[in-house]
Subunit: 203 residues, 2 copies
């Protein structure tokens, strides 16, 4: 086979493994499971990949790259308010998730099985990603756009809501990923209550 087809074969392994890892978890998924799923022998997998962990590593870091790329693109756009920027971040994150919910779930649930130095690397990246959100919150609070609630608390709440999306999102549903992101950011930023505010609250 040509080089291009080999890549697609390797990609097929990664896709199948993603599904497997998502359903049973990384540790409970065996190489024989994976081999079975693609119709070859377990030993034959090693013509295409170096190790089981290599697959996990590729999934995790490819997703990390996608999340970063999505919010990096936003930083170049002009922005009127921090609320607008936060919404764009949320929508971008949602779109990455919706684009591959299975890989996202593996990314979220299985990274702890990475070995060093990849483990620390991953933790670092996630920390930097969270910081990007925190900076927006801080700026918004400084501009009196947001209430002075602990930024880390808010960001973790936002990200946890986002990271639950792959559990229920189905492509082709009523809401597009963008609409989901918008709805979600409106809910988290504006709340779900009807009626007027009773003035500026402190937490």
């Amino acid at each position: 086979m040509s080089k291009q087809e080999k890549i697609s074969r390797k990609r097929q392994l990664e896709l199948t493994a993603t599904q497997l890892f998502k359903e049973k978890g990384y540790t409970a998924s065996s190489m024989r499971d994976l081999a079975n799923e693609v119709g070859i022998e377990a030993a034959s997998l090693y013509s295409h990949i170096k190790s089981k962990e290599e697959i996990l590593r590729n999934i995790c870091f490819r997703m990390a790259d996608e999340f970063f790329a999505a919010i990096n693109a936003i930083d170049n756009e002009p922005m009127n308010s921090m609320a607008e920027k936060l919404e764009k971040y949320i929508v971008a994150h949602t779109e990455v998730i919706a684009h591959d919910t299975a890989a996202t779930l593996v990314f979220i649930n299985e990274w702890k099985h990475l070995s060093e130095p990849h483990y620390s690397n991953f933790v670092d990246q996630r920390h930097r990603y969270e910081k990007r959100f925190i900076e927006i919150l801080k700026a918004g609070i400084k501009r009196k756009e947001f209430l002075p609630i602990d930024e880390k608390f808010v960001v973790l709440t936002i990200l946890s809501s986002l990271n639950w999306i792959p559990h229920w999102y189905k492509p082709g549903g009523k809401m597009s990923p963008e609409e989901i992101g918008r709805q979600l950011s409106r809910m988290l930023i504006d709340g779900i209550k009807t009626g007027h505010r009773t003035g500026t609250r402190q937490h």
Copy 2:
């Protein structure tokens, strides 16, 4: 040893296993790991427990019971608004989480390794639990207390935020579990924005 002491020995196993399952995941935690942690041989564990899965089962269903007990207690109290009831639910849920974050994480992450019929049983219970929240949302929307946003969407967002708490909560921090719950429900219900609402919404 007396019967009372036996129970505490079994309890020690469960506590140690909880910590182990939380850190490495259920599948990646071996009985030899657990035995090592409590200072006995792996085979000796079976003088106290029937199987590895029994431990997981106990953790998962004990937590499920606690979550249900917490919101059941609330339904007997008089309630002025759905927002108030929702807040009490959220605070109650947060308090159960804070009481044992490790067990909560196992409850959230490892239930999929339960075998039938326990697996289906668990899924059913969780579904019933979510419904309790959905009913509050529905009632609140009917009373025009909440905006007419898809209830399932809102509930999943709330619960995902709650279920992320064990990842960062440390006992003895600045906020008590109750304060965390209050803060969280205020944020989710009222939003994080300063200032007054615009427009047509009434109450």
